[in-house]
Symmetry: C2
Subunit: 333 residues, 2 copies
DNA sequence: GACATTGTTTACTGGTAGAGAATGGTGCGA
DNA sequence: TCGCACCATTCTCTACCAGTAAACAATGTC
């Protein structure tokens, strides 16, 4: 038996003083009302309502019970109501984890505007280049690079692709020569971003041919901004996401090399716990991210679907494959 | 879905921080836990718990919801607990309706002892000779005479049979003569108890022959005690329940007549709303009544079953007929 | 006094809650 | 580093139960 229904039936019957009326009000047939009350009484072992076919009245026990039940039901109803506004308007605290550099170069500036758009929203932004466990640490959303992406039940939304560029200061190239082939890098002073998945081996491609160079260098650092500073100082050469050095390249402070070779890309993802029942506060922040990262793109953002890891489903795994909404694994809408 | 179950599942999961552990605690399988949480979230349109297979944490909404839900569930649990003691020990207020005379002559004296046996019990005893609507007026129990008994869904428990006796004061018989046959009463000054079902026609039986006498008299009164007073004063003759005049007959203040004729009997019933889930306070009072009315009987009380009104049931009305426990109509265990 | 309303009972049925098996994911310990 | 054990989820199946409809009994009213 559904006890919550039974309690609501009891309450209505008690307040309306009629089985039939309660039935009409609740959209239930008279027998259903009878049975609910009878089962409730059976469960409690107490008669709650004295009734003839024409008259009914609560027993003393019924009155006592009603009092407490009413409190309980009201509290539960309030629980539902409290979630109402939260369900529609962004509010509460949004906990976000994001890598330092990309935030400072691409995001940070737009956040005040975002926050003033949603006055009820608080943002708790943790800048951290390590891969946080978003469930354990209670984050609503995290921004990850592709070399940092776990294969989990989380949802990953692609934000941007950051092509890398090989560059150094003009002064460095003058002194040590400009590399003509990837192999030339073996002799160069390569500055390494230690948190990158491809920190020690740089890969280049051309005409379907791939060159993997194990690089050498005296400086390894866990922030791309520090790498940039070292580049600007003419200390060495590095493979770095293009956006981080875009203004430097334009201004001539840095120069690129091996432009005819394809380099790695770092894809940025927004990672969050679930697609279903996405909280508005997460929804709007996600929209904000998508907008920010597609702002100065030549062509609008085109979503890509990341292939799901092979499913060894028992039955015929046909249609479910395409319903990305209910897939728990990584995918991009 | 049973929402109360879902809420309890949610609460356990939140407090134990584990789906599996909650399942073990509640005696449910892991899939059941998952489904309950998922359905609850679906119902609310809000994600309550972020979860991977190894880790789970409440969302902000989940924490807010849990708070209210806990309150609600606690209130409902309290409602059940409150009924616990009531269910076992007699307590609260017992509202009883009883006829004036029988109470004063047979019951009244024993009530203080009854009440001191149950210290938590209050008794609200309404002495009223009319037939009250016990459901409408909120009585827990009523004592009724057989000529007052409705054919309702109430339960009637036989308490005692009160044979009537035709009697008057010796002085009356001296002055007006002692009736030898029922027909002699036509000339007598008959005192009538107006609330009796047989106030105007007195019936006598002998050898299977029945005599119905339409009686005449100058005094009609709605209390048997007043009838007795008039008898004592030698004002007339009356047909009155034997117990009311027992001491008068013994002491010689009144004398009986037509002793070889059978007279009406008034059967006393205790009437109460239902046999199922009989409240202890009613149970003990019923026991008290049975004990009081069988106190000075020569042979112990033998329950009689009153025939149920004919049932035009569709199917073969076979066994249900004997299960008196579930019969709603009048019956005596 | 016939009728209408109300609560209850009975028999039936559609929906659903829970179990079991299989899968994918994760952390711990050897 | 690699199993191993555990965990949440999905899918499928089944048994049960809640609700309905129809019939009935009781009761008050026009």
């Amino acid at each position: 038996m559904d006890r919550l229904t039974a309690l609501q039936v009891f309450r209505h019957v008690a307040e309306l003083n009629s089985f039939a009326e309660a039935g009409r009000r609740l959209g239930l047939s008279p027998p259903a009302i009878s049975k609910n009350i009878a089962e409730l009484e059976g469960h409690l072992g107490v008669r709650l309502i004295n009734r003839t076919t024409r008259r009914m009245a609560l027993t003393e026990e019924g009155r006592i019970y009603l009092e407490h039940v009413t409190q309980g039901l009201d509290a539960l109803a309030r629980a539902d109501q409290v979630l109402g506004p939260i369900k529609t308007a962004p509010s509460g605290t949004l906990r976000v984890s994001a890598p330092m550099t990309v935030t400072l170069t691409r995001l940070s500036a737009g956040i005040p505007a975002f926050l003033s758009r949603y006055p009820d929203l608080k943002l708790d932004l943790h800048l951290d280049d390590r891969r946080v466990d978003i469930v354990r640490e209670g984050f609503d959303l995290a921004i990850r690079g592709s070399d940092n992406l776990e294969d989990s039940s989380l949802v990953a939304r692609k934000l941007a692709v950051m092509p890398h560029v090989l560059c150094a200061a003009p002064s460095y190239f003058e002194k040590h020569g400009r590399p003509k082939t990837p192999a030339d890098l073996k002799a160069a002073n390569c500055i390494r971003f230690s948190l990158s998945g491809h920190a020690d081996i740089w890969e280049f491609r051309k005409d379907g041919r791939s060159e993997r160079i194990a690089i050498e260098g005296r400086y390894s650092v866990s922030s791309s901004l520090a790498v940039r500073d070292a580049l600007r100082a003419g200390f060495g050469v590095s493979l770095i996401p293009h956006p981080y050095v875009e203004s430097d390249l334009k201004a001539g402070r840095l120069q690129s090399a091996l432009d005819d070779w394809e380099k790695v890309e770092t894809t940025l993802y927004a990672v969050y716990p679930a697609r279903q029942h996405l909280a508005p506060k997460i929804r709007v922040f996600l929209d904000f991210l998508i907008e920010e990262f597609s702002r100065d793109k030549e062509k609008p953002f085109v979503p890509l679907r990341r292939e799901r890891s092979a499913r060894r489903s028992v039955g015929e795994g046909t249609e479910a494959e395409n319903q990305t909404e209910i897939l728990p694994s990584i995918s991009s809408p």
